[in-house]
């Protein structure tokens, strides 16, 4: 598979154009909204995605999360970012 050979960098991630977080009052839930799609987000995912501002390194993101939660699973953070990158929802904003 070609996709497996692709290298993804997890620094300076931010939302692609047309992707945004949304709090649904009716559902009392956080969602990620994007073209023709909506993903339900648990509190950890919200914490991770809301600090992806296009300027932070992966290390910086991990540090912020560690200061907010006592047991941050770095692999889990990495996996979420990777999934979002592969779907084109997060992009690398390195200038």
């Amino acid at each position: 598979m070609i996709e497996e050979e692709r290298v993804y960098y997890l620094d300076n991630l931010g939302f692609a154009s047309g992707v945004r977080l949304h709090w649904s009052t009716a559902r009392q839930q956080h969602w990620l909204l994007f073209p023709e799609g909506a993903l339900f987000l648990n509190p950890t995912a919200v914490a991770i995605l809301s600090i992806c501002d296009g300027y932070r390194s992966f290390t910086a993101i991990s540090q912020i999360l560690s200061s907010q939660f006592c047991d941050v699973d770095i692999n889990q953070v990495q996996n979420l970012l990777l999934q979002m990158l592969k779907r084109g929802l997060l992009i690398n904003k390195t200038p």
């Binding site: 692709r6 154009s17 559902r27 994007f34 084109g88």
Partner: protein, 365 residues
């Protein structure tokens, strides 16, 4: 009792008027009858958008016909933006002027879908029924210039499947973020033109390979969706993700439907937003409850382990082809009426017609 989900998506069909005349249009074949002439007023639409947000709707698609024919579109987008709902404009692109595009962006529109009928100018204009190639390309470029995410949607059939590589190349040139390739579904206008549209098996096989490459090579950052031609599938599609499970459609006259084609089922009466709230229609209306869940099913669906996977397939297709809206979708190889599909495919293969029955041109102003 069925566990009732909240609706995720609202398709707002603002008008059935359209400058284009595509022979597979999803609007009802009687789109210009008196039933649809009386379009909902701005006031109603603004009220409905707020109701939809309160009901938990997350995605709102402005569609038609051509939604840009409504001069109050900007107001609707602005109202939706205030609720936080995600907004998509689904347009043919021919009326997408720079002035309105900027206004729509400033009102908070999230995403734009433009239809392309083909990759070549004469072929595209032939399907669209009017010269529109240049305008569509200009519109797509404008979408990108204004930093909207761009989806290009292409309806596939016998007359464009052989150019699928070229079509994908054009989408790449236009820097589409996302591409939807949807094989024609045969209802309404497309059913009238079925013999002229049905592709050959070889065309479909080749297209599948080309699409697989585009997906693997990540031509488009947000992906390529390929909607299979269900006539050639073993099982039917879970139409709309299940009847009354995710989607509401509001027709231009205010009728609320579980899918864009549901008006083709004559036994159903659709409640209108002039008489009831969206919440009432979603949870209480007879039309939304008619095929919800699995209790309404007959055999072979009733005892099928896939009944909660494909929900018996498409009700409109079952009715159009078998005359019975509760029948198993004949696309399913387990349907006792599956021979209807086999026969249609064979008949499509032996025809080589390209004479279409077009939508008549309804005034587009």
């Amino acid at each position: 009792m069925i566990d009732l989900d909240l609706p995720l998506t609202l398709m707002a069909e603002l008008t059935y008027r359209c400058p284009l005349r595509c022979p597979y249009c999803s609007n009802p074949t009687n789109y210009d009858s008196s039933r649809y002439r009386q379009e909902l007023t701005t006031e109603y639409w603004l009220k409905l958008i707020k109701q939809a947000a309160n009901l938990g709707v997350l995605q709102l698609g402005f569609t038609g016909g051509e939604p840009m024919l409504r001069q109050d579109l900007e107001l609707m987008v602005e109202t939706a933006t205030a609720t936080g709902i995600y907004t998509t404009l689904i347009t043919a692109g021919t009326l997408f002027t720079k002035d309105r595009a900027i206004k729509l962006r400033d009102c908070g529109l999230d995403h734009i879908q433009i239809s392309l009928q083909d990759s070549q100018v004469d072929k595209l204009n032939y399907i669209a029924g009017i010269p529109s190639y240049e305008q569509k390309l200009t519109a797509a470029r404008l979408v990108k210039q204004l930093n909207f995410p761009l989806t290009i949607n292409v309806v596939l059939h016998r007359h464009n499947l052989d150019r699928i590589e070229e079509i994908l190349e054009l989408c790449k040139t236009l820097e589409a973020d996302r591409v939807e390739l949807a094989n024609t579904q045969y209802y309404g206008w497309a059913l009238l033109n079925r013999d002229a549209l049905l592709p050959t098996l070889e065309q479909l096989e080749r297209a599948k390979q080309v699409v697989a490459i585009a997906q693997q090579e990540k031509y488009f950052p947000m992906g390529v969706v390929y909607v299979l031609p269900d006539y050639y599938e073993q099982y039917p599609k879970p139409c709309m993700g299940g009847w009354g499970r995710r989607t509401m459609v509001i027709a231009p006259n205010g009728d609320v439907l579980p899918c864009q084609v549901a008006a083709s089922i004559p036994e159903l009466n659709f409640d209108n937003v002039r008489d009831h709230s969206l919440e009432w229609i979603w949870s209480k209306s007879a039309a939304f409850n008619r095929f919800r869940g699995t209790d309404w099913m007959e055999e072979p669906c009733r005892s099928c382990p896939r009944k909660a996977v494909d929900f018996g397939g498409c009700r409109c297709q079952a009715l159009l082809l078998t005359g019975d809206a509760t029948a198993t979708d004949p696309v399913c190889h387990l349907s006792p009426q599956h021979h209807l599909i086999t026969k249609a495919c064979e008949s499509g293969q032996s025809h080589n017609s390209s004479s279409f029955r077009y939508r008549d041109r309804l005034n587009s102003s």
